[in-house]
Symmetry: C2
Subunit: 246 residues, 2 copies
């Protein structure tokens, strides 16, 4: 069952029964992974594409001095390595943050989808380009937002992305990652992340207890973060399909 993936695509695309049926058939098995487990490592040439079903994973790189940089969060409905399937060698690693369920899809199956199902081909392009848009927003956050705004912005982004796959309520979600993970995301020390988090709590913008995040006033947090969800491109396009309309 690829529910979160299909759910995500259906925000943007109208899938035919054939499209949905094709998606239901792609799985070549499901794996259960514990927290902090690598799914793919930098340098590998993956034979399969992995789809996150549940839990939090991330793209990351380790630098020569041992520090880690988290480059993206992967949540239910996200594909781990379309890039690896197409570029060949992975230029970064993918690993779990929390325990995860992962669907394994043979590389050829994905390629067949793109050639035989135009809408799905379009949808895969869309998912890659949205991932790129998220990356751009992270660059902006790292480069030009204050630490507290940056953190708030990421919490808003995760809220909206989780809502799109039915893993968040209107104002809360499970965030099964540590402050250390947040540090490697924000490019800060864990000590400083702790203080920034306390600052957001003090302003009543977030309530984070254990792994549960709840947001007393979503609009207030979005305003504080200057969050504009346009870059997630979840709504149907104001222009039709990519595909020639005939």
């Amino acid at each position: 069952m690829l529910n979160p993936f299909i759910q995500k695509l259906e925000h943007r695309f109208t899938l035919s029964d054939a499209d949905r049926a094709a998606l239901e058939r792609v799985s070549a098995g499901e794996r259960r992974l514990g927290p902090r487990a690598d799914i793919i490592r930098e340098g590998e040439i993956p034979d399969h594409v992995y789809l996150i079903q549940s839990g939090f994973a991330c793209r990351y790189k380790i630098l020569p001095n041992g520090s880690r940089s988290i480059i993206a969060y992967l949540i239910p409905g996200d594909l781990c390595d379309l890039n690896g399937a197409i570029l060949g060698e992975m230029d970064h690693s993918v690993g779990t943050l929390s325990a995860c369920n992962v669907v394994v899809i043979p590389r050829e199956t994905i390629l067949d989808l793109t050639t035989q199902y135009p809408t799905l081909n379009h949808a895969l392009w869309w998912s890659v380009l949205v991932e790129e848009a998220i990356l751009r927003e992270w660059v902006v956050g790292l480069g030009r937002r204050s630490a507290d705004q940056h953190l708030a912005h990421i919490l808003c982004e995760v809220l909206v992305r989780l809502q799109a796959v039915g893993h968040a309520t209107v104002d809360s979600y499970e965030l099964p990652i540590t402050q250390g993970d947040l540090s490697d995301t924000l490019g800060l020390s864990n000590v400083h992340v702790n203080r920034v988090l306390q600052e957001l709590r003090r302003k009543d913008l977030v309530v984070l207890k254990g792994k549960s995040l709840s947001i007393p006033n979503v609009d207030a947090l979005k305003t504080f973060a200057e969050f504009n969800p346009n870059y997630l491109h979840l709504k149907p396009s104001r222009r039709g399909s990519l595909l020639p309309q005939r």
Copy 2:
């Protein structure tokens, strides 16, 4: 003439004469733009795809407080808005840094290429995914590299990318941007960029006079930056084509 674009693709792909001929036919005109001119603005829905022929351009966003974040450099051979052509609304702006020559390609022409020329379709996927890989490297630079290493890394990256389109010698190139542009790239103040630049000069890692950059010892700079060009995926893949091989 799409020379830099074709030159870039041929590092990685073997284009047929038909492929090359198709690429030669895509231009619907060329525009000459001065420095600091917008090519596309956030919110627009582009009808054309723009290809940089000469000069430096960038993707950027302006934040509510007026500060600018540069998200990517676009150099000769780079497409400005494949994303806009597919996602619809632009979620960021594209503008020139130096004067630029830009080739205009109708959106439909690009779509036709992807459906009628499998190798070119693959090549376009590749160019999008490499752009994403560059973005990941920028996230790492912003998050976890020191300011001087980050700057050095970007200078290495631009060196290799310009070499791939014949716009750099083995150890030098024209860098027609200001220190202010570098600040918005590195997420630093212009004052600090100036000091970091002086630091690199003091270490004899770079010689930057006016707009000409020359690198006394390329290996030394790459070592200092911990630069590994794997993420640019310029060499032919260790696996064959994306396309089903039949």
